[in-house]
Symmetry: C2
Subunit: 238 residues, 2 copies
DNA sequence: CGAACAGTTCGGCCCCGGCCGAAACATCTG
DNA sequence: CAGATGTTTCGGCCGGGGCCGAACTGTTCG
């Protein structure tokens, strides 16, 4: 039976604590196995299996079989955007006390957000790109300048090739500092590239990104980051 | 009790057919009474009252009392964006057969989408603004050019005053033609202005906008619309 | 004041769906 | 092959929550 989805059906699927936890875990951008998702959700393997079947049937998740594992990922960037929008609503509701543990510190510094970077590193990069005139951000939307095209080409990213329907840059505040960073196609390409160069590395079982020694110098030199970019508050440049 | 919202709680609230219908009805941007929402949702007044109490408590809706009526509206643009994102996911899932009735024709031509215009009129406007060099759209995100600032100032909109965190332009496809139109702050200001000028008028009990005689000539002259902008397919300019 | 109307509260029905235990199936390993 | 590990299916329990009828509050109007 191939019935269409309604908005209520989609929201209902997300509107269960266990499933929402699974989806949130997948916002890291990596494909995860059913078992990993079960741990994230805090329910048994059987229950997880049922949830994943529903999410897959509704095409919120895509699945890839690999040996005795099944790897799940978000089915589309639309799904990621919907979850992100729900996060924004949840965060803007009645204030929730948000205790920050030690492991949050790493996440605040640098992490993945579906397919691009977030955290203070991403903010520093966005600031740098704007300051150097490579990208123009207007109210959360952004475009790449001609100078920026050259800059990104030098860096190994062909901006011309990114022309699709996905926005180049999007506001993506998450539960971190509330400022826009580079998301969309360009954000995804940037993350790809810096992972490729070994400037950051994924931390297993987490959305956190670890800054490597190569990254430490690479980011600073290439993007002319200020010396204090790791410091917490980080205001906008005047 | 002031507890915080989680993403699952928010999604669960939207994930009920009756409540989703109410929220969708409010995507028109106008405040509606409890009774009107009951009719939209197709449930009794008592049931509606319960739903509205929950939505209001979670700050998805804002309410204003006026005599013996209570007017409800979406509490924030974040909520509207979340619902919109869910619509996108629902639309991109397994294809739903979408029979178009005669009343849909008016909606396809011009309608409100929360706080801005949608439909073929909005697409023609977006095309015009891009063609004339007033706005640059890059992958669904957009910025206003210097020439555009002058143009909008002549039209009675101060773009400088719109600098907030909301994007100027956003992809907003809904169930109509799948192309971006002007949303965000600029889109809201545009809708305000053309309603103010009497170029379009709200159709009661509907999201549709009626094009007036003044609008017919006003839009054509001011935005240099092509003669065939009302025609269905409407491809992108080369 | 009393009738009409908008909206809410209460109580009870009922069904949907999340949960787990048990067991089956699938896949890799030794 | 046997055993370990990952995943699914089945069956049954049970709680939450959507629904409406009835009754109550509050507002408008004649």
């Amino acid at each position: 039976m191939v019935s269409g989805n309604t908005i209520a059906e989609v929201a209902r699927l997300i509107g269960d604590a266990a499933r929402a936890n699974m989806l949130a875990a997948l916002m890291g951008g990596q494909a995860l196995t059913a078992g990993e998702l079960a741990r994230h959700a805090g329910v048994s393997a059987q229950t997880t299996s049922g949830h994943l079947a529903k999410l897959t049937a509704a095409q919120l998740l895509a699945v890839e079989k690999q040996g005795r594992h099944r790897y799940f990922r978000l089915a589309s960037s639309e799904v990621a955007q919907a979850i992100h929008a729900l996060m924004s609503v949840a965060a803007s509701g009645p204030k929730r006390h948000h205790p920050i543990g030690p492991r949050d510190a790493a996440l605040r510094l640098a992490r993945t957000c579906y397919d691009h970077m977030a955290g203070r590193l991403a903010l520093a990069l966005a600031d740098s790109l704007v300051r150097e005139g490579h990208v123009i951000l207007a109210d959360g939307a952004g475009i790449v300048t001609d100078a920026g095209r050259l800059f990104f080409r030098d860096f190994g990213i062909e901006v011309e090739g990114l022309r699709t329907r996905r926005p180049l840059c999007r506001t993506c505040l998450d539960w971190s500092e509330r400022r826009p960073h580079i998301a969309g196609q360009l954000g995804a390409a940037l993350l790809d590239k810096v992972l490729d160069r070994g400037w950051v590395a994924r931390v297993p079982e987490s959305r956190a990104l670890r800054l490597t020694r190569a990254g430490e110098s690479g980011f600073t030199a290439t993007f002319r980051l200020p010396l204090d970019w790791k410091d917490p508050p980080l205001r906008l440049a005047p």
